[in-house]
Structures are given as C-alpha cells and as structure tokens.
C-alpha cells in the first residue's frame, strides 16, 4: 500500500520530539478524522536551525511528519514556506489516495509553526486554532457517519441517512 520511501520514514522517523523553548509551534488535526501533528521549530537568522515533530496517526501521518522536518531543516523561512502538501507527497514517492488529505497535515503544521514564529516576533497575539467539534478539512472529503458510512457535512449532528445522533467526544 505504501511506497518504499514512506515505509522508510515510518520505520526510521527523523527528528522525533519536541523542542523545549521553541521559537514557533504548529499543531494541527484531531483524532476524529485520525491524525494530530505538532511541529516545533528553532529559528536563527531567519533560517530553521532545528525542527522536531510529534504525531498521533497512521503510518502515512508519521512518514509525512518525518519528511516535512527533513525538507524544512536548514532552509530559510522563505524557502520553507514553499513546502506544500503536494511537494511532501511527491518527496515520499506518493501517498495512497485516501491518505492524501487526512494524513498529509505535515505542511500545514510547518506553516503554522512559521506563522507562530513571525507573530511572536512582531508581537501579535497568538492565533489559536480551535480543533473542537466535528471536523472536516475540505468540502469534497467530508466526514462520514460512524454508523452507516453516509457522508455528513460540517456541523451536522444527525445523520440524514440513518437518523442517528452523532455525539462528539474528545479526550484532549
């Protein structure tokens, strides 16, 4: 199912951990759709000097996190801003279609960490990403009813197909 590169990064993930006293922190995802990622960066002379990740997720999510940290390490902030979901998937020799969106959050976490760094530097209040509630990333890949697998749209609390109420529980 996974490419050799994905399996390599999954089995030997690079840059695992959390930088204490990081200059920027990016945290995305939630366990409802499967994955959570936290990226911490250390910046010197507008360059990513060190980067680490923590990930709760499937094999693809772990490989993506590892690859993103490899790609960003040593880059200038402007260079790192060019790293996207697409370039990460390409560097991993592609991801399975159903993993492209859900597990491919590494670039988002990186961009959020860079933004956090820039906000702190300019004295802006930290923008909090709210990860509560029923969560869908994009329109076309909405979440599905856990009972009957019918598509549900953001904010819906009752499945239109089977009529069951969907109660959201999070333990974070």
């Amino acid at each position: 199912m996974y490419s050799k590169t994905v399996m390599d990064h999954f089995k030997n993930p690079r840059n695992v951990g959390e930088i204490q006293g990081a200059d920027g922190v990016g945290e995305v995802g939630n366990p409802i759709c499967g994955d959570m990622m936290k990226i911490t960066i250390k910046v010197a002379n507008e360059r990513i000097k060190d980067i680490k990740f923590l990930t709760f997720g499937c094999g693809a999510a772990i490989a993506v996190s590892s690859m993103v940290t490899e790609m960003a390490k040593g880059k200038t902030l402007d260079e790192a801003k060019q790293i996207s979901k697409e370039s990460v998937a390409k560097a991993l020799d592609d991801l399975p279609k159903n993993k492209l969106h859900c597990s491919n959050l590494g670039a988002d976490a990186l961009q959020m960490a860079i933004k956090d760094y820039e906000n702190r530097k300019s004295g802006k209040v930290k923008e909090q990403d709210t990860t509560e509630g029923y969560h869908c990333y994009t329109e076309e890949e909405s979440c599905k009813c856990p009972y009957c697998d019918s598509e549900m749209h953001t904010g819906e609390k009752t499945c239109a197909m089977c009529g069951r109420k969907i109660e959201i529980k999070l333990s974070m």
Binding site: F10, K11, P13, V16, E18, E27, N30, P31, I32, C33, G34, D35, M36, M37, K38, F53, L54, T55, F56, G57, C58, G59, A60, A61, I62, P96, N98, K99, C102, S103, E141, C143, K144, C145, P146, Y147, C148, D149, S150, M161, C162, G163, R164, E167, I168, K169, L170, S171, M172
Partner: protein, 387 residues
C-alpha cells in the same frame, strides 16, 4: 520466520481435512447439481451430505439451511427477505447500535425504500437490554435483527431473552451469528430464533460460502431471484467445492468444540494477563463475562492503530485494528463509539483474534513485540506527551 496470525476473525486457516476434501472434489469434475443426469446427481448428493453436517453444527434440520456466498449475503437475505415478504404487514425494523455493516447497510437500503428503523443502544460493555428491545417494538414492527456476538469487541447478546420477546409479539427474529457459529455452541431451538446467519471462514472452512438458517414456516422473499436452487429460496448455481469444504469444517468443528473452547480460554487468560502486566494505559473493550473466547479488543491510549499494525507486520505478526485510518473511510468504529470510547481511544484499538492453532509461544512473542511497538509510538505521540 513464520507469521503469527492473530487476525483469525478476518479468515481462519483451512483445516488440512477441509483442503483435502476440496482438492478431491475439484479433481472429480462434478456436474451441475440441478441437472437430471448422473454427473449432476452426484453433485447434488454431495451438497445434501454437506447440508446435514452444517445443520448439525447449529442443531437445525437440513431443510432449514440455505447455502449462501458469505455471511454478508446471509444477513442481506434475512433482512431484505423478511422485509419484502412482510411489507403488507408493516415496515418497521428493530436493530442495535453495534451491528455489522452487512446488517446496517441492508437496513439503510430499506430506509430508502420507505421502511423505518429503531436502533437500540448498548451499555458500556456493548450489551443490549432486552427491555429496550421490547420498548422499541411498534404495531408495524415486522423484524428484529440483533447479532449474537460482536465482531469487534466479542460481547455476546442476550439472544434467548430477545427471542422470547419476539415470539410473544409474533415478530420475526433474525440473528447475525457469523462470529459465533463454530466458535461457541449454537442451538437454534434453544435460542428460539427464526433466522441465523453464519459463514464457513469463521470455523476453518473456505471463504466464499456461508449459510442461513430459516426456521420452518418463516416467510422469506429470495434475495437472488433465479432458478429453483436451495429449495427455491436462492437462485444461482451452488458453490459446490466451497459447500463440500464447509461441510467438512462443520463436522470437525463440532467434534472439537469443547477442546477448542478450553484452549481458547487458556490463550485469552494468558493474553489478558500479559497485556495488563506489560502495557499501561490500556482499556479492554467488551463484556468481561458474556464474551467470545477467541477475541480480545484492546484500546491502547495515545497511539493510533494502523501504525501499530504496520510495525507488528514488520515483525511478522498479523493483527487487526479498528482505526479509521486503516479502513480508508475516515471514520472511527461505530461499535467503539457506541460503547462510549472517545475518538482518540477508538483510533488506538486492536482486535486480537486467535484459534485452535495459536500457541502460548505465539502469545509470548506477540506481547514482547507489542510492548516495544507501543513504547516507540508513544514516544512520538503528542497525546502521550501531554499526559
């Protein structure tokens, strides 16, 4: 190194006797069982021999058994077949929150055809209260469908009590017993049910063949319309080789049932104790008492199931997960949500199933590798770091 199979529920290995019987059957070049000539008659005889063996496994009469292509077909046949046969009497069906997809989805289809359903909730161990079933029944209820044992958490439902209610209310009762038949003793008369689904690959028989028990006198519309096979109840040429395999598997399973259960119980105890001693922050899902002996459902906190499965696979250990990430459908298991697990815990759930050939050594190695895997993944987990 040999692969340790702890995913028996996906499919059991074939018994050597089953393999032999199937290979011999292939060599014989049987005819079509419906044909009047001798080649056909010989095939028909083989099917009836198998039917007798299969019927014995669940204490039914042979003419109450329909051979199907799998457990899913049996469930579809029972649910749609009763709903269609009784559509003039009513269009309401009672079911439960933890049914298999092959029950949930036929019901979903029926909803689009104007049927109405009530789904009864389960307690924290996944058990239905018979009283809730009674309360869900309406004047237009024509079918109750509740599974015997859950395929994800192993909880066994109070089928006898529910069947009693169904009988008193004169409502047809179907029981999905795919995970139970061949694992624990099933007596259709003692249970008092009208229809029961089962599949050969759950008791060391081949995939692609299942059975549906239909008590005499039960109204049932065919699912596959066609020829007069299976006493006019299921059109389509029979899967002769598979049916022969299922017959042999049934016969041996019945003979070995008691010793198998004792073995499975020993393995379950060893596994449960080993998991408790080796890994912290784990939750055992399911009912401690009313539970299948061949299954353990384990939620491992702070980590995700697919990554556990992949790492174990690298060490030649096969185990299943109920993580959404592995299913490709981006959804957590409805069973785990129904028993109150939160989404993160549901994501980190393993379904460990084993069988007659699983050894204590297998379990020892599994425990060792699992501990290592959990440690590695937790070191990577933001949820574990927040703990």
């Amino acid at each position: 190194m040999n692969t340790i199979n702890l995913d028996y529920i996906s499919s059991n290995p074939l018994l050597p006797e089953v393999k032999n019987a199937m290979i011999e059957a292939i060599k014989k070049d049987y005819g079509n069982p419906s044909s009047a000539h001798r080649l056909g008659e010989e095939a028909a005889e083989e099917i009836e021999k198998a039917r007798e063996k299969v019927a014995k496994l669940i204490t039914a009469s042979p003419d109450e058994i329909i051979f199907t292509s799998c457990g899913t077909e049996s469930n579809n046949h029972a649910i749609k077949g009763v709903a269609f046969a009784k559509k003039d009497k009513g269009k309401h069906i009672v079911t439960s929150d933890t049914e298999h997809n092959s029950v949930l989805k036929p019901i979903r289809t029926l909803r689009t055809l104007g049927y109405d359903t009530t789904s009864v909730s389960v307690d924290q161990f996944g058990r239905v209260k018979p009283d809730d079933v009674l309360k869900a029944i309406r004047d237009d209820t024509v079918l109750i469908t509740i599974m015997h044992a859950n395929n994800e958490i192993g909880t066994i439902q109070p089928i006898k009590e529910i069947a009693q209610i169904a009988r008193e209310k004169k409502i047809t009762f179907h029981c999905d017993a795919v995970t139970s038949v061949g694992v624990v003793p099933i007596d259709v008369h003692d249970l008092g049910i009208d229809l029961l689904s089962f599949a050969a690959n759950q008791f060391n028989g081949p995939s692609g063949v299942g059975g549906l028990y239909v008590r005499k006198g039960t109204s049932l519309w065919p699912l596959l319309d066609g020829g007069g096979q299976e006493n006019k109840r299921r059109g389509g040429t029979e899967n002769l080789i598979g049916i022969i395999g299922m017959g042999v598997a049934s016969e041996i399973t019945l003979k070995e049932m008691e010793s198998r259960i004792n073995h499975l119980k020993r393995i379950k105890e060893r596994l449960t104790n080993g998991l408790r001693e080796n890994i912290d922050d784990i939750i055992f899902n399911g009912y401690p008492e009313y539970s299948l002996p061949n299954l353990i459902s384990l939620s491992i906190k702070y980590i995700e199931g697919e990554s556990i499965v992949l790492m174990l696979d690298e060490e030649n250990i096969a185990v299943a997960t109920k993580s959404a990430c592995a299913s490709g459908s981006l959804r957590a298991s409805h069973v785990l949500i129904a028993i109150g697990r939160d989404y993160a815990d549901a994501q980190g759930t393993l379904v460990i199933t084993y069988g007659r050939d699983t050894t204590e050594n297998d379990i020892g190695r599994f425990l060792e590798v699992l501990k290592k895997t959990v440690d590695t993944l937790r070191k990577m987990s933001p949820l574990y770091q927040k703990k």
